[in-house]
Structure formats: structure tokens, C-alpha cells
């Protein structure tokens, strides 16, 4: 299965991935109109320290602890992709308590959100990857 990987050597820290992610998950025809002046809640986050930068999103673990820990049974794996059933999630943050990568956060309507590889949002391919100007984020089998 293809997953997202990052290469910290090539990351410019431009945060385009955060914008592309937020836009892909928000929808709409125009990124400017969708995100201008909006506080964005992307599922990928750029971390930065001492000149090193890279982006972190869900690792789509082969044996995810978030799924085992979800008190609502709202996290499932579809063809290897870790997904949240938003109708079942009650926003209890137990997944935030256990995710070793800090990849889940609270979204709209009090339910959790995470990277679903742009499959559930209909985008098709991960927007963070296709928009990365320096191939610091790739989508591949490893």
C-alpha cells in the first residue's frame, strides 16, 4: 500500500502542504476564496526547529493504536487506510491521547479529523504530495 513519507533534507518549510490539505478537505473551486482570512485546520503539520523542517501526517500504521483505543469503535481500516467514521465519533480525544505521531486533531462539529490520504474527500491523490514544490513529501510503497 502507498503511504506518505517525508524527507526533511528537502523540505523548505513553506507550509504549502498545510494549505493544500486544508483546501482539499474544505472543497470549493478557489483556494483563495476558501482560505483567505480563515484559520486553517490541516491534517498535516510542518514542524520546525534549528533550521530543520518537515511535515507530519497520519502514518497509516499497519497496527494502529488509535483504532484499538477508540472508545466509540469509530476508527476503521479500509484497504489499509485508517479512517474515522464521523457519525460515530463523539470527540472524546482518546485517539489524541494515544497517537504516537500527534496525527489527529479536533475538527468541525466536535469530531476528530485526520489524514485519510485524500480518499474520503474525493480528491483522489494526496494534495500535500502533489502540491509540494520540492518533492519533500512523497506517496509511495515502502
Amino acid at each position: 500500500m502507498k503511504r506518505i513519507f517525508v524527507n526533511e533534507k528537502w523540505c523548505l518549510g513553506c507550509r504549502l502542504c498545510e494549505y493544500n490539505c486544508a483546501f482539499a478537505n474544505k472543497g470549493g473551486a478557489n483556494m483563495y476564496l476558501a482560505l483567505k482570512n480563515a484559520v486553517i485546520h490541516p491534517n498535516i503539520k510542518v514542524e520546525e526547529k534549528d533550521g530543520i523542517t518537515y511535515a507530519v501526517s497520519c502514518r497509516h500504521c499497519s497496527d494502529p493504536i488509535c483504532k484499538k483505543s477508540c472508545i466509540a469503535g469509530a476508527i476503521k481500516i479500509e484497504n489499509g487506510v485508517v479512517e474515522i467514521d464521523k457519525s460515530k465519533c463523539v470527540g472524546c480525544y482518546t485517539c489524541v491521547l494515544v497517537c504516537p505521531y500527534g496525527a489527529l486533531s479536533i475538527g468541525e462539529n466536535g469530531v476528530m479529523q485526520k489524514c485519510e490520504l485524500c480518499i474520503t474527500n474525493g480528491n483522489g491523490t494526496p494534495a500535500c504530495v502533489s502540491g509540494c514544490p520540492n518533492n519533500a513529501i512523497v506517496f509511495e510503497e515502502r
Binding site: 518537515y54 507530519v56 499497519s62 472508545i71 480525544y93 485517539c95 494515544v98 497517537c99
Partner: protein, 408 residues
């Protein structure tokens, strides 16, 4: 292979899924005394709040048992294990034989002996879906609710009743709320949040007796219409104890989830097991551990190899949007990060993070949980920075690379 599981909740589902990782065809029978499809217990307060419903509370889809080839026997309880004959006796007189058995009987609410309790008419422990339905049927704007116990269950019950009853009073012996998971500072904040919603607290106070619809404490008389007892839970150990297996407060299991009886496993809230953060055997009655123990038991029962050897206590709890996450043991040197609207406490011993409490800002808390579970040496962490903001960049490159450049 003939598998038998007693209990039909979270740990039991873990066992079934664990078995099916390894053995796709063995015969699995589940005995559960609640006559219901498996549901998530922690959601009962969300049900009363209207944030979920009975359908969405199902912990697994309707076709779960069928898809996994499980024969569920529901509404019946197991009363005795005959370990020499490898049989379990049920309350309806049936006998079931097994090759390997899992006990996933969970815990029951503890009701302390208090004078006059028997005569209280409308009383529940806030524990099962039946309890929630009963409570739902009893509440209206004229009812005064008294909750005994300011722990997780008592406070979740209080939260879900706000706006639905005339008054809510919470009584506890302890001098601050959530005594088992918080320190005084964060507890005060939680109490504030709940007080603002009109919930009354009577702390450092115990109920001496009930006189019909009045609770008598040292200093107060509290009138009520509905009583909720939420003082604590006790593991259901009797099946193993009566069969001669080792129990303490919970059923004793090792990291493979084996009991002291041959071919008998146990998992979930009925067990007592090793907490790697305090290095002691403990009861850690939480859902994630129940599932993970169950899965571990299932894999081992089916002949695979698995260990649940990173157990720690951990909790995520929120009230009216104010969230608290805590994990591990509050042992060692304490350091505190305070800011507007948040408080973070960390406990360090022997060069590793042992525990933490985050209140108000819980972002990416799992990065701290990982430090405890994986015993990441603080020498490999920029600890001053990570205390302010949980991020992977505070780890040395080798840890970052193993997280971000490989399949995990």
C-alpha cells in the same frame, strides 16, 4: 479449536479479533449476560446528551458476529468454570466445553454499605446501557439528582444531566474531584467548569445514611429524587477465584494475558496487571487496555505470539469542551508549564518521562504517551521544548526517521 469467551464487551471483541488474525475457522462462542449487541459503555453519557444513539453506540457493525463466525449466547451468564473437565456452566443450565477459554467479565459498580440505601426508590449505578435507559426514563425538569462519587463516571453523569433536571449535586469523600487521575490544581479547574453549569459540589464529605429521599452527611441534609452511585468499580473475578485461579483485587494475568489456570486467559477490566510506568501490578480499568489485552489474549489463544507489555494507566476526559489528558504515574520530579487556559505537568524519574497531566491544551498528547510507553531516554529529547509543545522534532534524528521514513 474450540474457543469460549465469557463477557461480551470491549475485551471480548479484542479476543475475537485477535483469534481471527491467526485462526480463520476455529469455533468461537461468546457468552454475555447483557442481552444486547456489543456497545460502547463509555458512550452512555453521550447518549443522554443526545450526541449519539443506540445504533451508533454499537461498538462493531450488526454483522460482526456473523462475519467472524461467532456464536453469541446473550442474556445468559456463566456461573462456574470446571477447569479439569474444560467446561463452563451457564445460568440456564447449559454446559459448554472449550479447548481454550477467555474471561472478559469486566467490572461491576461498587456499592458501599450505607444505612437506608435499600429503601431509596430511584437509584442506579451509571454503568450500563440499561442504567442509561432507566435514568433517561426517570429524569425531567422537576428532578433533583444526587451523585455519590466525583470520579470519572460520576462527573460524566453530572455533565450529561445539565439542563435536563432541576438540580445536580455531587458528593465525594475526597477534597477534590477526579481524585484518582488529577492533582488539586487541574481538579479545581474541572470543578469550576462544572460549577459554572450549575452543578453543586459537596466535597470532603461522606454520606452517613439515607432517610428515604434525603442523604445525611456530617454537615448537610441533601434532598434528592434520583440517586446515582458512582463511587468505584470492582473487577468481576469470581469465576476464576472459585475455580482456584490466582486473584488479588483483579484476576492476575501475565503479559500474554494468561491466568494461573491452564488454557484460561483473562483480559479487560476484570484483570490486574503490570503498569510499566509505576512498575507495579494495578487495576487499570480503561477501554484501550481492555481491547489491547483482549487482542493479545486472542492471538495467544489461537497459537500466535503476542504480549501486552506496555500497559500504563491513561485517560482522556472532557467536560463542556474543557479537555484533560493524563497518563502514566505521577512519580518523580515534577515540572509545570502554565499558560493562558492551560496547565501541563510532567513527572520524570530515572531519565525517562513517567507521567503527565495536560489540562486545557491537550494537542498531540500521544507524543508524550509514547515517551512513557517506549521509555524514550530524555537524553534523546529536547525536553524543555517538548514540554511547551508536543512535536516529533524534539526527538533525535534516528527516532524521527524511524517515525517518518518507514512503514510503522
Amino acid at each position: 479449536m474450540k474457543y469460549l469467551i465469557i463477557g461480551n464487551s470491549i475485551a471480548s471483541i479484542g479476543v475475537i479479533e485477535g483469534i481471527r488474525h491467526i485462526d480463520k475457522t476455529g469455533e468461537i462462542t461468546v457468552v454475555g449476560d447483557e442481552k444486547r449487541h456489543v456497545y460502547s459503555r463509555p458512550l452512555i453519557s453521550y447518549l443522554i446528551q443526545g450526541k449519539t444513539d443506540e445504533d451508533r453506540m454499537k461498538y462493531r457493525d450488526d454483522d460482526f458476529y456473523k462475519r467472524n463466525g461467532v456464536n453469541p449466547i446473550l442474556g445468559v451468564s456463566a456461573v462456574k468454570i470446571e477447569e479439569k473437565q474444560k467446561k463452563v456452566f451457564l445460568s440456564d443450565g447449559r454446559e459448554l466445553s472449550y479447548d481454550v477459554l477467555a474471561i472478559a467479565t469486566g467490572a461491576s459498580p461498587f456499592i458501599p454499605p450505607i444505612d437506608g440505601y435499600d429503601k431509596v426508590k430511584d437509584k442506579i449505578a451509571f454503568f450500563t446501557l440499561d442504567d442509561a435507559e432507566y435514568l433517561k426514563s426517570k429524569i425531567d425538569k422537576s428532578k433533583r439528582v444526587l451523585i455519590v462519587g466525583a470520579g470519572l463516571i460520576g462527573l460524566k453523569c453530572a455533565e450529561c444531566l445539565v439542563g435536563k433536571v432541576k438540580s445536580i449535586t455531587v458528593v465525594d469523600h475526597a477534597d477534590f474531584v477526579l481524585h484518582s487521575i488529577l492533582d488539586n490544581d487541574e481538579a479545581k479547574e474541572v470543578q469550576n467548569v462544572l460549577s459554572k453549569q450549575g452543578i453543586n459540589f459537596i466535597l470532603s464529605s461522606g454520606i452517613q445514611k439515607f432517610e428515604e429521599n434525603t442523604a445525611i452527611t456530617e454537615n448537610d441534609k441533601i434532598g434528592f429524587d434520583i440517586l446515582v452511585m458512582a463511587v468505584g468499580v470492582r473487577p468481576n473475578v469470581s469465576l476464576i477465584k472459585d475455580a482456584g485461579g490466582k486473584v488479588d483485587r483483579g484476576i492476575l494475568v501475565d503479559e500474554k494475558c494468561k491466568t494461573s489456570l491452564p488454557d484460561v486467559y483473562a483480559c479487560g477490566d476484570c484483570t490486574q496487571y503490570f503498569d510499566i510506568s509505576s512498575e507495579t501490578e494495578k487495576i487499570m480499568a480503561i477501554l484501550p487496555n481492555a481491547y489491547m489485552q483482549g487482542e493479545t489474549a486472542g492471538i495467544n489463544m489461537a497459537g500466535g505470539t503476542a504480549s501486552f507489555d506496555k500497559a500504563i494507566p491513561m485517560n482522556s476526559i472532557g467536560f463542556f469542551g474543557y479537555h484533560i489528558i493524563s497518563a502514566g504515574s505521577y512519580d518523580g520530579e515534577e515540572s509545570v508549564e502554565r499558560g493562558k487556559g492551560y496547565l501541563k505537568k510532567f513527572f520524570v524519574k530515572d531519565g525517562v518521562l513517567k507521567g503527565f497531566i495536560l489540562a486545557g491544551d491537550v494537542n498531540r498528547a500521544g507524543i508524550y504517551t509514547r515517551m512513557i510507553r517506549d521509555k524514550i531516554p530524555l537524553a534523546d529529547v529536547d525536553f524543555d521544548l517538548i514540554k511547551k509543545e508536543a512535536s516529533l522534532i524534539c526527538f533525535v534524528k534516528s527516532i524521527r526517521d524511524s517515525s517518518l521514513t518507514k512503514v510503522v
